[in-house]
C-alpha cells in the first residue's frame, strides 16, 4: 500500500492519496501516517480512496478513528471509494458516520463550508 500526503494550498486541508490494499497488514501504517497530521490544531483531512483496491474491518476501524479525531476540529472526507470499499462501509452500517464525495474539489468545499461551525 502506498500513502502520499499532499498539502493543499487552501487553509490547512491535508490531501492524502492511498493506493493498494488496506487490510490488517497496512492499517497500522496508515494510522501512524495520519496521526502525524492529526497533531495539528485544525484537522481537515481528505482521503482519496480511488486507488484503494480493498478495505477490511481493520482499515475501516482506522478510518472511523480518524473521523472521530477530526470531530469538532475539522473533518474527514473520503473521496471516490470503489464499489468494494463502499460495500464494506454499508455492511458495517457506518455509512452515516463517514462523509464521502466524488471528487477532491467537492470534498474541499464540504470541509470549507463546515469550517468555523
Amino acid at each position: 500500500m502506498k500513502i502520499e500526503i499532499i498539502d493543499t494550498q487552501k487553509g490547512g486541508i491535508h490531501l492524502v492519496k492511498i493506493e493498494g490494499r488496506l487490510d490488517a497488514n497496512f492499517s497500522l501504517q496508515l494510522e501512524d501516517e495520519i496521526d502525524k497530521l492529526l497533531e495539528q490544531k485544525t484537522k481537515n483531512i481528505i482521503l482519496d480512496l480511488s486507488g484503494v483496491t480493498y478495505l477490511s474491518s481493520s482499515g475501516l476501524r482506522v478510518l472511523l478513528s480518524i473521523n472521530k479525531e477530526t470531530q469538532g476540529a475539522g473533518g474527514l472526507v473520503l473521496v471516490n471509494p470503489r464499489e468494494v470499499v463502499k460495500k464494506i462501509i454499508e455492511v458495517a452500517e457506518v455509512d452515516d458516520l463517514l462523509t464521502q464525495a466524488d471528487t477532491v474539489e467537492k470534498a474541499m468545499s464540504i470541509l470549507e463550508s463546515s469550517k468555523g461551525s
Binding site: 490494499r21 487490510d23 490488517a24 474491518s57 468494494v84 455492511v91
Partner: protein, 223 residues
Amino acid sequence: MAKAMNIGVRLKELRELRGISLRKLAKKAGVSASFISQVEQSKCQPSLNTLRKISEALDVATSYLLEPEGNETSSPEEAIEIRLPNRLKYLSILADFIKNVCQKNEVPVKDVEDILLAVDEASTNIIKYAYEAGSLNYFRVRISCDPELVQVDLLDQGREFNPLEIPPSPTKGMIEEGGEKDLSLGIHIMKKVMDDIHYRYSPNEGNRLTLVKKISQVKGSGL
C-alpha cells in the same frame, strides 16, 4: 453436493491419475485402446468381466469404478489448501489464492468479493489472536467449489476460540480499540456477507471455522 459420476469419467480420471496411456491400459486389460476410449467417452458400457480386468490393470477395486463417491467429507468437492505462517503480510497472498480458485471456477464477482472479505476477516483474527504473540505458527485455509456453493475452511491449532460467540454489539460500539472488541466488527461483517458459518473444535484438529457462500445464479433462461 457430489455429482453422480459415470464410469467413463471415473475411468479417465483414474487412468490419468495413474499416468497410464490408453494403449498400455488396453494391453494390460486385454482389450483394445479404442474400446477404452469409447468407455471413457460413455459411448459404450463394458461388461462386468471387462470392468474387472480394467480395474486390476489400474490397481483399484472394481467397486471404486462403479460407485459414486459416498465417503463423508466435510467439503462438497475436491479442496485446495494453502498453509500460511501467522503473519499479516501473507493476507494478500491468501487473497490472491482465494480469488484465483474462485475465478477458475467462474464464481460471480460479487460473490468473490464477499468471500474475500470474510476470509480476510477470519484469517486476520487467527493471525492476531490464535497463537501466542510473536510465536511462529501456521494455519490452513481450504477452499472447495461446486456449482452451487463455495466452502472455505480455516483450520488452526491455536487456543480454542469460537468467533461466533462474540456478542454482536451495535456498530457504533465496535469502534473501540483493544482486545476482543477489535474482533466484533470483523465478525459482524463475516456473518453478513456469508450465507452460513459453522465452528467446531476438536483436540487433535484444533479450531475449524467453515464459511459457506451460495453462488448467486446470475445466468439462467427465463428469469
